[in-house]
Symmetry: C2
Subunit: 480 residues, 2 copies
C-alpha cells in the first residue's frame, strides 16, 4: 500500500495519531503472509481510547476479521481491554469471543447482559457455543440456558454431561444425514432446501432408519456424481467414527494419522449424534503439543503470555517450588560430604558436571518418551523394548562423554583417580537416567498423572541425588 | 470381536502363532478410539517373518489402512523392515511410503526399482509425490524425472525450485478453477467431466482470464445454490491467499488463526498456481510445535524414536556436547573460588541452589517467548513491553523464593550473612534470567538461528556462570 502523496494536510498535521490509511492493520511477514494485528494498529487503538475517540477506533476496526479483533483484545494492555470491549460490544461478532484467549474470555462475557449472551450462544455452531459456556460458572450457565429455546437447551444440557476434553464436547451437532435409497439429485435438493445446515461441512453421512451410520459421501465426490446415481452405490462404507466419550487428543491423533477432514461421532447405542471437523482438531493437536512444551518447562499454560504480571508471577512461583524442593534435596545430599569436599576442594567444582550431564541426558529420554506416548508411537506393551534401546543409547553416549570429561577432569586437577571416579559415576548416572527416564513417564501416566508435568522434575531430582552421592561417595571411599 | 468358540482345532494347536482372527490388528484405547497397529499384530508379523510365512503376513495386513501399514513399518525391529517391505512391495499402496517415518523412507525407496518408483510418484498428488522426491539424492531425482511424462516432469522441476519448507513446496498443483460468468450448473458439469481432479478438494476457485484470483465458492456453498445462479453472484471475494515463497509455518499459523480449510497459493505475478489444504497444515503445525519441544530438550527430531541405537546415540551425544561445554565453564567459574569454599564449606552445597533456580526460571521465560514468537503472539516491536513484564514477574517470584530459600539457608548453616547473600544473589540471577530469557530468543532468531535450539543452552550457561560467580563472589567479599 503506497502512502498517498497528494495528502499534504496529513503530512503537516502535528496530531500524534496517524490517519487510518497510513496504518497497516495486519502483521505482514517478510515473505507476505498476513495475519494478526500489527503493533502499529494496536498502538493507534490504545491512543484513540486514551483520547475517547470512539469513531476513530471503530473506523480502524472495519477491515478486520473476527479472529484479528480477538487477537487485538489479547494484545491490548490490561487497562484498555474493558473500555475497548464496551465500545465494540454492540456490533460484536460472536466468533471474536470464541477466538479470544481463554484467560480473558470470562471477563469479557461479564461485560455483556443476559440477552446479549443468549444471542451470542444461539448464533454460534454448537461446538463454539459450548466453548463459551464452558468458561462460565454453573449458575450463569443455568440462567443462560433458561433463556434459549427448549430444543437448543436440551442439546446443550446433554452435551455438557460429557466429560471435559471428550469427543462429545468437541463435536458439533449440526450434520447432514441422508438415507441410502435416495439419488444424488434428491440429496442435492435436500441440501438446497435445508435451513439449519452447519456453517461448514465436508461430508454427507448415510444412515439407516435407526440413525446408525452406514457410510458417507464426501462433498467433492458428491459433486462429481451423475444426479441419477443412488447414494448406496457411491457411498464410502469403510469410514472412521469415534465414540462420544473418547478423549479428544486420541481423536485428534487419529485424524492426523488417517488425514481425516471430518468424522462422525456415535453414542453408546451406535446412533450418529454429531461430527468433529478438522478445524477443531488443529486446535487440539497444537494445544496438546504446546501444553507438553510449556508443562515440561514448568509454565502454566498458553495464557501465561497474556495474563497480568501478578497472575503470571503466582503461576511461575508455584512451579518454581518444585525446583526449590529439588535443589534443597540435592544440597542436603552434598552437605553430607562436607568433610570430603574440605579435604579435596576439586570435588566442589567437579561434582556439578556429573549431576548436569545426568539431568540433561535424562530429560532427552523423558522428552522422547512423553511425545511417543502422546502420539501412540510407544505402546505400553513395548516398555521393555524401549528401556533396552535407551540403555544401549546411554551406554554409547555415556561412554563417550565419560572418556572426554574424565580425561579433561583428570588432567585439570592432575589426578588419575578423580578422572576415573568421574567417568564411572557419569556412566552409572546416565544409565540410571535412561532407565528411569523411560519408565517414569509410563508409570506416572498409568497413575493418571500428566507425564509432561511430573516425570521431568522427579527424574532430575533422582539424577541430582544419584549424581552427587555417587561421585562424592566414590571419592570419599577411594581417595580419602 | 468375540473369539470363535467352535474352532476347537485352533484351541488345541501348539503353534505359537495365533490365527489372524484372534489378533486385534489396531490399537484401541479404553474409550474406543482405534488407530495404529497393535503390539500383538506387530509381534505376529515378526514371528511369521521368522518362519518365512509370507501368506500369513499378507493375510494379517488385509484389514489395514495404508497409514497403519506405515505405522507397522515404523514399529518393526530394524532387521525385519527389509524382508517385510520386500514382501509387500508388489502390492504397495504409495500412500504407505508417504506416511512412513522420514528417517526410514530412503532405505525403503532404495528397495524399489526405477519403474516402481516412477509409478509411485505418478500415482500420488503432487504434494505427496514431492515429499518422497525430497528424500532422494539429486541423481536419483534426475533419473526418476527422466522417466515420467514431460508435463508432470516440468511441474516437479518447477516446484523443486522453491525453498525448503515454503508454501510452494507444501501446495498441490491440482486445483479446480472456473470463470466468474459461468452458472452453478456449468460448474457442476465441468467438475463431473474433469478427469484430473485433486483427490480431495473443498473449494472451487474463481479466476479471470489471466488466471488471477477473483474469489472462491466452498463446496458446501456450491451444493446449496440454485443451478441457474451465476458464479460471480455467489462467490466469496474476501479470501486468504498466500505467496508461493512464504514460510510454511507462517501459512500454517494463518490457517489456524482464520480456521481455514484450503487456501490458494499465488506466484509472484499474482497467478494462482496451487492450493494448500488443512491436512498438510495439521502436519506442519504439530511438527513445528513438536520440533520446538524436542529441540529445547536437546533431542534431534521425531525420528529419534525409530532410529537404530547407534544413530540415536550419535545424535544425543552431539547435543550433550552443549551441556558438556556449559558444565565445564560453570566448573571453571567455581574453581576460581576454591579457596573460599575451603574456608566456608557450606558454600559448596548452597551455591547449587542459586544456579538451579536461575536456570529454571530462565527456561520458563525462554519457553514462553519461543512459543509466543512461533505463534506470532509476540511481535518484535513489543520486545521492551515483554522485557518489562518479565522483569516484573521475576521481581515478584524472585523475592518470594529469595525469602524462602534465604531463610532456610540462613537457619540451616546458622549464618544470617549467608542467608542474605543467597537471597540477594538469587534475586539478581532471576532478574538476569528474565532479561536475557526474553531478549535471547528474539536476538538469535533475528540472526536466523532457531531460538528453540540455541536460546536455552546460551541462557543456562549465563545463569550458571552468573549464579555461581555472584553468590561465591559476594560471600568471598563479605564473609572472608
Amino acid at each position: 500500500m503506497a502512502k498517498k502523496t497528494g495528502n499534504n494536510k496529513n503530512d503537516l498535521k502535528e496530531d500524534v495519531s496517524l490517519s487510518p490509511d497510513d496504518i497497516a492493520p495486519l502483521n505482514e511477514s517478510a515473505d507476505g503472509v498476513r495475519f494478526g494485528v500489527s503493533a502499529e494498529l494496536r498502538d493507534a487503538i490504545e491512543d484513540n481510547l486514551d483520547h475517547h475517540n470512539a469513531a476513530a477506533v471503530l473506523e480502524l476496526l472495519e477491515p478486520l476479521h473476527a479472529a484479528d479483533i480477538a487477537d487485538l483484545i489479547n494484545h491490548l494492555k490490561a487497562r484498555y481491554r474493558e473500555p475497548f470491549f464496551q465500545l465494540i460490544k454492540e456490533q460484536l461478532d460472536p466468533e471474536t469471543l470464541v477466538d479470544v484467549d481463554p484467560a480473558l474470555r470470562l471477563d469479557l462475557i461479564n461485560l455483556l447482559n443476559l440477552d446479549q449472551i443468549s444471542r451470542v450462544i444461539l448464533h454460534l455452531d454448537s461446538d463454539d457455543a459450548l466453548s463459551l459456556l464452558e468458561t462460565m460458572d454453573e449458575e450463569l450457565i443455568h440462567t443462560i440456558l433458561q433463556r434459549i429455546p427448549a430444543g437448543e437447551r436440551s442439546i446443550f444440557e446433554r452435551v455438557l454431561q460429557y466429560p471435559d476434553k471428550s469427543a462429545g464436547r468437541l463435536m458439533q451437532r449440526e450434520i447432514v444425514c441422508v438415507p441410502p435409497h435416495w439419488t444424488i439429485q434428491e440429496v442435492s435438493d435436500f441440501i438446497r432446501e435445508q435451513k439449519d445446515l452447519p456453517s461448514l461441512f465436508y461430508d454427507v453421512f448415510v444412515v439407516n432408519p435407526r440413525h446408525h451410520l452406514m457410510g458417507k459421501i464426501p462433498l467433492n465426490q458428491l459433486v462429481r456424481q451423475d444426479p441419477k446415481t443412488l447414494v448406496s452405490d457411491v457411498m464410502i462404507e469403510d469410514i472412521h467414527s469415534f465414540p462420544d466419550i473418547s478423549d479428544q487428543e486420541e481423536v485428534a491423533q487419529a485424524f492426523k494419522h488417517y488425514a481425516l477432514v471430518s468424522a462422525p461421532i456415535t453414542s453408546s447405542s451406535g446412533r450418529i449424534i454429531g461430527m468433529v471437523t478438522v478445524d477443531d482438531v488443529v486446535d487440539v493437536l497444537e494445544e496438546e503439543a504446546e501444553e507438553d512444551i510449556l508443562h515440561m518447562h514448568k509454565v502454566h499454560g498458553e495464557s501465561d503470555f497474556y495474563a497480568p504480571v501478578s497472575t503470571t508471577a503466582y503461576w511461575r512461583t508455584r512451579w518454581l517450588l518444585i525446583t526449590l524442593v529439588n535443589t534443597l534435596i540435592a544440597s542436603y545430599v552434598i552437605s553430607q560430604f562436607e568433610a570430603s569436599i574440605q579435604q579435596i576442594t576439586a570435588l566442589s567444582f567437579l561434582m556439578t558436571i556429573n549431576a548436569a550431564m545426568g539431568g540433561n541426558s535424562g530429560m532427552q529420554v523423558v522428552t522422547v518418551v512423553v511425545r511417543a506416548l502422546a502420539t501412540r508411537s510407544l505402546l505400553e506393551e513395548d516398555t521393555w523394548r524401549a528401556v533396552r534401546k535407551e540403555l544401549g543409547v546411554s551406554l554409547l553416549a555415556g561412554s563417550f562423554c565419560a572418556l572426554v570429561l574424565g580425561g579433561i577432569a583428570g588432567l585439570w586437577v592432575d589426578s588419575v583417580g578423580l578422572g576415573i571416579i568421574l567417568s564411572v559415576s557419569l556412566i552409572c548416572n546416565m544409565l540410571w537416567a535412561a532407565f528411569a527416564g523411560t519408565l517414569l513417564p509410563i508409570v506416572v501416566s498409568r497413575f493418571g498423572l500428566d507425564p509432561a508435568i511430573s516425570a521431568g522434575p522427579i527424574l532430575t531430582t533422582t539424577t541430582d541425588v544419584f549424581g552427587y552421592a555417587l561421585f562424592l561417595g566414590l571419592a570419599t571411599l577411594f581417595l580419602l
